[in-house]
Symmetry: C2
Subunit: 215 residues, 2 copies
DNA sequence: TTTTAAAATACCCCAATGGGGTATTGGATT
DNA sequence: AATCCAATACCCCATTGGGGTATTTTAAAA
């Protein structure tokens, strides 16, 4: 059975080259080629890939985002991210995108095929340069990870609105002015927000809001 | 020129085996074998390694700690961490320890030699299993916070003491009682702490203190 | 050695914040 | 009809944070 491969790649030359390689190799079957991820859900549904070859530098939605969406909605689909990895910051984001493997853009075709085969069989191919960059990014850094428990704090719309204003740095008085309610009402809402978020002060609430993406 | 290799490994059998392999292979020279990291600084100074082969499961100080110390004090020394990686939590710590590569304990000898050679030449060997575990640790975690900086906030001893009491949950009054100084003096110190830490409230200061390990 | 800088101590004022209440009103659910 | 909840609003008071000023001691620099 052939490995069904889908390509997301904005550069037409690279796209065509990859498609040609897959077409010319036994065991691989390219079921879709897309130049951006704007219709990713339709694209995935229509092409039913085993492996997605994802470029992370694309116009519009970045490949990292698309990879995240795909791995959340279709966890059985393996994602192989290809990148130039010159930006050290992107490494970290890419790591969190839920990809199964990473490959360098200037790796030779046979490396691509190997990597596709490896992720398909449950492996985690990672070219040596990627591993090196990754280690460099983490070395001696004392990083603190915050994984979002994705709790539902059941904030009302009004509470979310006020929390957003707090995140933006406004104090009670200006929030009151902006929302056309009294200072005391703002305080009442904030108290409720704190209780629901299980926090005891402004900055904790703000951090939780940002981490959970409650903005 | 031979690659100077130093071994940290608590298991005598493994230790001797590794030493024997290195002794029997051209291009490698084992300049030190140690069963724990208690005298790591002396050990490193005396053996002048190019590459350190570090076991992370050791009695006393863990290999992760030792790796951190070595990579901070002797950044030119490459560190190759060997592990069984059954504990998913350790992956992250190991990542931050500043190692140049990771190898599995049940990898065959020739893999060890390859990996040593690779780190010596600036590479980042990482066995496929390690890469897989690593990716699994990060995948779909939506990790947000990366606060390294390890800045030196230049807190005085007294300020560190008061910050610790704040971390422990005491308020100004009890801190004043505990330290035999006045309430107002506690407040003065706290103000200074906030300025030095670049924070605006208690909980931010506490978080920063914990993250930076200022306790 | 004098000067300067800092750390540690202490107090002032006042605004902002947090926690505890109570209360009314208007929808939504039961 | 009764009940619950969100949104509104006010009360009191303790705690916290930011802005000062000031003295003493100790350490470093000129």
């Amino acid at each position: 059975m052939d490995i069904r491969v889908v390509i997301f790649e904005d550069n037409k030359l690279v796209r065509d080259a990859l498609q040609a390689i897959l077409a010319g190799t036994q065991g691989y079957h390219c079921t879709g080629v897309f130049e951006d991820g704007n219709r990713w859900e339709l694209d995935i549904k229509g092409s039913e890939p085993d492996v997605v070859l994802m470029d992370i530098e694309m116009p519009g939605k970045s490949g990292i985002e698309i990879a995240k969406y795909i791995s959340e909605k279709y966890p059985e689909v393996k994602i192989l991210i290809q990148t130039v990895f010159n930006d050290s910051e992107k490494i970290f984001q890419a790591l969190c995108a839920g990809a199964s493997g990473y490959i360098l853009k200037n790796d030779p075709p046979h490396k691509y095929l190997e990597a596709i085969n490896e992720v398909y069989n449950g492996g985690a191919p990672m070219s040596s340069m990627v591993a090196k960059k990754m280690l460099g990014f983490f070395s001696n850094k004392n990083i603190v990870l915050v994984s979002p428990n994705s709790e539902d704090y059941q904030l009302s719309d009004r509470e979310k609105e006020l929390l957003k204003l707090m995140v933006e740095g406004h104090n009670y008085k200006t929030i009151a002015t902006k929302t056309f309610i009294s200072y005391e009402t703002v305080r009442t809402h904030v108290k409720h927000i704190y209780k629901k978020l299980h926090v005891a002060c402004r900055s904790e609430a703000i951090q939780k809001a940002i981490q959970q993406g409650l903005q």
